[in-house]
Symmetry: C2
Subunit: 223 residues, 2 copies
Amino acid sequence: MNIAQYIDHTLLRQDATNADVIVLCNEAISHSFASVCVNPCRVPIASKTLADSAVKVCTVTAFPLGATSTVAKLAETKWCLDNGADEIDTVINIGECKAGNWDYVEDELRKVAELVHSYKAILKVIFENCLLDESEIVQACKVSMKAAVDFVKTSTGFSTGGATQEDVKLMVETVAGTCRVKAAGGIRNYDDAVTMINLGADRIGTSGGVAIVAGEERVLGDY
Amino acid sequence: MNIAQYIDHTLLRQDATNADVIVLCNEAISHSFASVCVNPCRVPIASKTLADSAVKVCTVTAFPLGATSTVAKLAETKWCLDNGADEIDTVINIGECKAGNWDYVEDELRKVAELVHSYKAILKVIFENCLLDESEIVQACKVSMKAAVDFVKTSTGFSTGGATQEDVKLMVETVAGTCRVKAAGGIRNYDDAVTMINLGADRIGTSGGVAIVAGEERVLGDY
């Protein structure tokens, strides 16, 4: 497989500067990653740096807690889209998932999805699986499908756990091709990434993209 | 001292529900805390629950990373104010602090402060000191004063470190009464809280408010 095409090359540290993001973008161009994934305030510099490349600009909204108003999620997302974002990874309202208020969760996701799709951009919805039980992950997949999002995503990388094989398998089975799955959080090397892709993940969110492609080169070199 | 009046009774877990926030609010009423501090989506239930009390509704915006656009910070803050928030704790753009782009930081804070003050509400600015060096903390205090914010605040509680005695002392000395200081992050018992107040902190952000007042009762019982 050409693993680079699966990778959202990710830098979400809050102390990252525009200079750091330019380095990230140039790495993404050099390795032909799917996208760079940066915080909203770094979308303009990423968009400018990637203007002549095939690498997409991905950003995160309501990140990493997801615990803001729908109005705020829409406003933040719109600004990112207006400033060059091609892909939005937004965090679900986890408290409403825990409360079983699935109509709220679905309604919010539908509004964000409609906005994102009106820009012909892609929406990925982050669940933060480590805070959900299995039935909640299944239900979150179902409302995400009903809201017509493009991807469901395992984790922010900022909570108590990242992508697990069990959860990726469960998500892939539940969405059954209606949307795609992004695995993120704790994926640091080539073996981790290949495992997730073999389980059905279509995108890998990682800050270890350069190490992952180096790992692929080592493995391919063995043959 | 009456320690309860210093406490922002805090619940920022992303999986907290409205039911959890009602419990928090009732504890705050019972102990006469300064405020409850909740995520934006919990402002309406906090405002409703505290309507007949003196306890203020505090919330957090651009939290905990601070790495979103000024437009998004303003939209999120406005929604919170429209829905009953009395106090806004917003996170500074840490990447711009690291890049030395202090005009950007000051301009953003001024816009947020003007919005917050137009509602006669209070603005606290969170620095995330663990990511800043001493000169950056001093400079962040200076731009906060120029932007006319009401409080500078040590930490989100979501990064690699919380409030330290050294940092609180430095912030109190630098702002020199022009604004107040909130210590938050890792303050879990009565002794921690008293130490910060004796250093000049005017407000304590903690999820341990009930334990802190219980500690005060034990100490006062000694006399």
